[in-house]
């Protein structure tokens, strides 16, 4: 006989004073419909687990698998949670009418799992890790038997021997018909207050409920105050994991306005969207009633309603509760899977032009640029060459004219017969110099032209200048400027001089002879002879002067002709050079253009292929996401159907 088997309620009848439940136990009356329902929710759960695994959510899949095992278990584990000093342990004690859970000012330190057994027993279970399942089997060395008489002290003593912070819980088995149906009550230490960051309390409560393998969470709160905001948040978090929440306001015997607080709590839960059942109880009254066997007082305590509800839950576990749980859990899991997929899809739709297509467009633009550039440089080349032609001719003419003018000036004074030897080398040198200057200038202009044309190419084409200055140099200067022979000189020989002298003196002799004959002198006299000599000398001088003029004119003519010849020749050479240059540049730049075009066409082909591939891949990807989403939607539809059946 243990201490809780004594007392007025030690009889093996129903623990509750409420009428026995009308809902039959699931195991006594197998229901074919429920069996098929079980199969359905199991199918959906398995499908969800598979989907989670496929999407790499192994953690979720593992959690769901654990819940699956829990759901298939006939036990209904009720987790009693709440803040400190709210009467959790007292509630458990009052439910089963036994002092198994320490209810004192210090509060519960070690969670206590209370279940049914033929004979009372108690042991402390040491779990392997804080995150380990409470329902997992542990070895014999991790089970510490506890004395039943002073359970609180025994637990304190046993935990004191273990290292601090070791994850432990107590398992107490008592013979109670309430628990015989498969109900397991779990009393827990107080939930930590909202000290940490927001959401931490919610996560903690969720973790506790998950690890404890709870099927139903019973949230305890004093009737004196009603739910606080942080508690409501915790309940919201729990509601995502547990479809059946039960909020119990305790200590109604002590609270003055508990009915108002209960209504307020219901209101707030409804507004927060937490589908929780609520009730208010008084453990003190219940214990009093059980001691005194007072049915009316027991009814006042509010426990009969709670017991009926718990029994209904036990009965509903393989059917409606499991269905709803699966609906809730799988719904959360599907949402978790669907949200990132949808985001990905939306991101893909909203994404700007992908790289490959952008590259393709850029390459096409480059090709267009190149085409425009080809037209431009051809125009530039022809313009430049035209300019060059006229410039060269004009330049040559200018220079030759200058040479010619100098030569004419020279021959205005000099006698070609005497100065030719001096003149001819000068002329030759001048002309050579002219040819050379012109050639250099032409080369410079050609370079400049090449640069102008190269400037028409886009910068990305790189260095497109012809490798070397094109051949401008014409033939050897000797060929350009041939030597010039002296003009034939009209000789003025002494015989001619004598003859011309005599011819001139004749007139003088006759003039003077006639004049002097008047004076009586003979025709030939000294005076007439002297006059003849003067006339003869003058005639000779005149004659030699006219001869000089003639020679000079001849020399000028010959020089002019020569220079003109050289000009024509040089001009021809220059034009040829320019044409050659034009041809050379055209060939060069055409080749460059073709090379560039080849390169761009090549990359255009590549870009096009890449863009095509990319588009295909994206389409495939989004098709896959859509398929996955469709699969999830189907799963969701199944879930909805599942809950519709419930």
């Amino acid at each position: 006989m243990t201490n809780w088997e004594t007392g007025p309620t030690a009889y093996p009848g129903p623990v509750s004073l409420a009428p026995p439940p009308r809902v039959p136990s699931p195991r006594t009356e197998p229901d074919p419909l429920r069996a098929s329902g079980a199969l359905l929710w199991l199918d959906v759960l398995d499908a969800t687990i598979r989907t989670c695994t496929e999407h790499g959510r192994t953690e979720t899949a593992e959690q769901l698998s654990r819940r699956r095992a829990r759901l298939l278990h006939p036990e209904l584990r009720v987790l009693v949670v709440g803040a400190a000093q709210q009467g959790k342990s007292q509630l458990v004690n009052a439910l089963i009418n036994a002092g198994v859970c320490g209810a004192g000012a210090d509060g519960t330190r070690v969670p206590t799992v209370v279940r049914h057994a033929g004979a009372p027993s108690a042991q402390l279970i040491r779990r392997g890790a804080p995150g380990a399942d409470w329902t997992a089997e542990v070895g014999l060395q991790d089970r510490i038997p506890l004395a039943l008489e002073a359970l609180d002290a025994a637990i304190t003593e046993a935990t004191g021997r273990l290292p601090a912070g070791a994850p432990v819980h107590a398992e107490v088995a008592v013979p109670r018909s309430l628990l015989a149906g498969g109900l397991v009550l779990i009393d827990t230490p107080p939930l930590p207050g909202p000290t940490g960051p927001a959401g931490q309390a919610v996560r903690d409560a969720g973790d506790l409920a998950t690890h404890a393998g709870a099927d139903l969470v019973l949230y305890v709160c004093e009737a004196d105050r009603g739910l606080s905001d942080p508690e409501l948040t915790v309940l919201q978090g729990l509601a995502a994991l547990f479809p059946e929440l039960l909020v119990v306001l305790t200590k109604t015997d002590y609270a003055v306005d508990w009915r108002r607080n209960l209504a307020d709590t219901r209101d707030r839960l409804a507004r927060a969207g937490v589908p929780a059942a609520t009730t208010a109880v008084s453990s003190t009254l219940r214990l009093h009633a059980l001691q005194a066997g007072d049915t009316a007082l027991n009814a006042e305590s509010g426990f009969p309603d709670l017991l009926v509800h718990l029994r209904r839950m036990v009965a509903a576990k393989p059917g409606a509760l499991a269905r709803e749980t699966v609906g809730r859990l799988a719904g959360v899991a599907v949402q978790q899977l669907a949200v990132p997929l949808r985001d990905k899809l939306a991101a893909q739709r909203d994404a700007s032009v992908p790289d490959a297509v952008a590259r393709l467009h850029a390459t096409q633009r480059r090709l267009d640029d190149l085409r425009k550039c080809a037209v431009r440089w051809q125009n530039t080349l022809s313009d430049e060459i035209g300019d060059l032609m006229s410039d060269v001719e004009h330049d040559l003419r200018d220079r030759t004219r200058a040479v010619l003018a100098e030569a004419e000036q020279f021959f205005a004074e000099a006698d070609p017969a005497k100065a030719w030897d001096e003149f001819e080398p000068w002329l030759r040198r001048s002309l050579l110099e002219l040819a050379e200057t012109s050639t250099t200038w032409l080369a410079e202009r050609t370079d400049w032209t090449a640069q102008q044309v190269a400037g028409q190419f886009p910068a990305e084409a790189g260095a497109v200048l012809p490798p070397l200055a094109l051949e401008v140099a014409g033939p050897a200067p000797d060929d350009v400027v041939p030597g010039l022979d002296a003009p034939p000189v009209a000789r003025f020989s002494p015989t001619q001089k004598l003859f011309i002298g005599l011819r001139g003196s004749y007139g003088g002799v006759v003039m003077f002879g006639l004049a002097t004959s008047l004076a009586g002198m003979s025709l030939i006299n000294p005076i007439s002879v002297g006059g003849g000599a003067i006339f003869g000398g003058k005639t000779i001088r005149d004659e030699s002067k006219s001869l000089l003029k003639k020679r000079q004119a001849e020399a000028k003519t010959i020089v002019a002709r020569h220079v003109d010849d050289v000009f024509v020749h040089l001009n021809k050479e220059a034009r040829d050079s320019v044409r050659r240059v034009q041809r050379g540049l055209r060939d060069h730049f055409t080749a460059v253009t073709e090379d560039l075009q080849e390169v761009i066409m090549d990359s255009l082909r590549n870009a096009k292929a890449a863009a095509d591939r990319d588009v295909a891949a994206r389409e495939q990807h989004s098709r896959r996401i859509q398929q996955e989403l469709a699969a999830l939607a189907q799963l969701h539809a199944q879930l909805v159907a599942l809950n519709g059946r419930a």
Binding site: K251, T252, D253, Y254, V256, T284, L285
Partner: protein, 482 residues
């Protein structure tokens, strides 16, 4: 009042110096001016804690009148300050406001004057003639503890249970840094004493035992001066017990136990119509609202066991509710040492100002503040006193009472510290001081005590030295001591 005032004087000098340094910095100057003014005023005692923990009820219980909570249509003041005055007055946002009593507190009715005011500090000031408020100004505040500490010299932290969540709050409220962090200004009140263990008759006793255990825990002792279990509801009802209530209680107590007991099981039963015929149902509901079920049970028990006049019943209810203990703790640790606490909060404020507004002169002042705080023997005295009171530290029994007396636990004047009768001569006082110093020197350096007790003895010895110094300074033997 020897050393306490000495500390206050030195603090005042420092504050004056700082006010001179910061005369060109308006915000700092304003803060310092207010601090200097507060230094001479009454002790500012804030009552802070989580929502619905019974702060306002406790304030009412301490004042002895139903003055809290304060109702303000449309708004809720963050803090309500209660101070002494010749006639009832109320201020809201620096403007006077009509005030009226309601059944359970006060109601302020804002008028046109307050609409134009910019919403500044949400703080109401109630001036009420009350003996309690003469030396202590009470602040009923909804501010978190950290901010309440900034506004007050000492804080009562009211909480239903001293859970893990409260420890960080208390830790941050201890003080900025350095030796000022000694929590000489904090006291914890466990306010659900009457509901402990489901509101059994021995609930208050259990709660007090639990509080005694908690205050001995070194972890808790490092956070506050004292932990007390109080039921604010019962205390407030006891302080304001009316004749009607007394009559109802005696009438109910006169019933045979067998008849009344079943109706005391739950509030529903107690308030049910047609039972407990001496008092009608509305009357019982009123009783329930004033006392709570636990309070009713306690009052009935007390009325049966000798509480046959209103005064006796009220007295015993106050005793059981824990209010007396709280009052004595407040008197011994806060009110009697108010100059130390005020100096402490002023130094904390000055420290804050010096650190936020750096000027070349601030460094020198800061060093002086640190010197003063490090030298403040009074803070150590207070900590030791609270440790001795709470039982965290036990001196040999023959010296315990002596130590508490010398530390100023029975009064801080020289005479009270030395346990002299008021008509003792100066020579007697000299003699007593020398004897005490010799006694404690032996204890401190004797080597017979464990380390912790020896440190305590050194602190007591320092107090003896201070007494001797003070006597030295009072060179004229004709000067009255104390």
């Amino acid at each position: 009042m020897i050393d306490d005032e000495d500390l206050q004087e030195r603090t005042h000098r420092l504050l004056a110096e700082a006010a001179h340094v910061y005369r060109g910095v308006p915000p700092a100057a304003a803060v310092l001016r207010a601090t200097v003014e507060g230094l001479a005023g009454p002790l500012r005692l804030a009552v802070a804690g989580p929502a619905q923990s019974g702060k306002s009820t406790l304030v009412s219980a301490l004042i002895g009148e139903q003055l809290a909570p304060v109702e303000l249509p449309g708004e809720q003041p963050e803090s309500v300050v209660y101070r002494d005055g010749t006639e009832p007055l109320a201020w809201w946002r620096d403007a006077e406001i009509p005030v009226a009593r309601t059944g359970y507190g006060l109601r302020l009715s804002p008028d046109a004057r307050h609409e134009r005011r910019l919403p500044g500090t949400s703080r109401a000031v109630i001036v009420w003639p009350s003996r309690v408020l003469r030396r202590t100004e009470l602040i009923d505040t909804r501010l978190p503890l950290v901010r309440a500490v900034e506004e007050a010299d000492a804080v009562l932290y009211v909480t239903p249970q001293l859970g893990d969540a409260d420890v960080p709050a208390l830790l941050t409220a201890r003080g900025p840094r350095g030796p000022i962090t000694a929590p000489v200004h904090l006291m914890v009140v466990l306010s659900r004493a009457d509901a402990t263990g489901g509101g059994r008759t021995d609930a208050l006793l259990t709660a007090k035992q639990a509080a005694r255990r908690r205050r001995r825990e070194p972890r808790i002792g490092a956070l506050c001066q004292d932990v007390l279990a109080v039921s604010p509801l019962i205390a407030a009802a006891a302080r304001t017990l009316t004749a009607d209530e007394f009559q109802a209680i005696t009438a109910l107590a006169a019933l045979p136990r067998a008849e009344s007991e079943p109706h005391l099981l739950s509030t529903d039963r107690f308030a049910a119509a047609g039972v407990l015929s001496p008092v009608d149902a509305p009357g019982r509901v009123r009783l329930l609202q004033r006392f709570g079920l636990g309070g009713v049970r306690l009052a009935l028990t007390l009325a049966r066991t000798g509480g046959d006049t209103p005064a006796v019943l009220a007295e015993r209810l106050q005793e059981h509710s824990g209010l007396k203990d709280l009052q004595s703790s407040i008197a011994g640790l806060f009110t009697a040492r108010r100059s130390v606490l005020r100096a402490r909060s002023a130094l904390a404020t000055l420290d804050h100002v010096l650190r936020t507004h750096r000027t070349p002169a601030a460094g020198h002042l800061l060093a002086q503040v640190e010197l003063l705080v490090a030298d403040a023997h009074e803070l150590r005295e207070l900590r030791l006193l609270s440790a001795l009171r709470a039982g965290r530290l036990n001196l040999p029994p023959e010296h315990g009472a002596d130590a508490r007396q010398l530390l100023g636990g029975a009064g801080v004047s020289i005479g009270e510290r030395l346990g002299m009768s008021p008509d003792a001569t100066a020579d007697d006082t000299w003699h007593a001081a020398r004897t005490a110093a010799g006694r404690w020197r032996d204890l401190a350096h004797g080597g017979t005590l464990p380390a912790a007790q020896r440190r305590a003895a050194e602190t007591v010895l320092r107090s003896c030295d201070m007494i001797a110094n003070r006597l030295d300074r009072l060179s004229s033997p004709a000067l009255p001591l104390g």
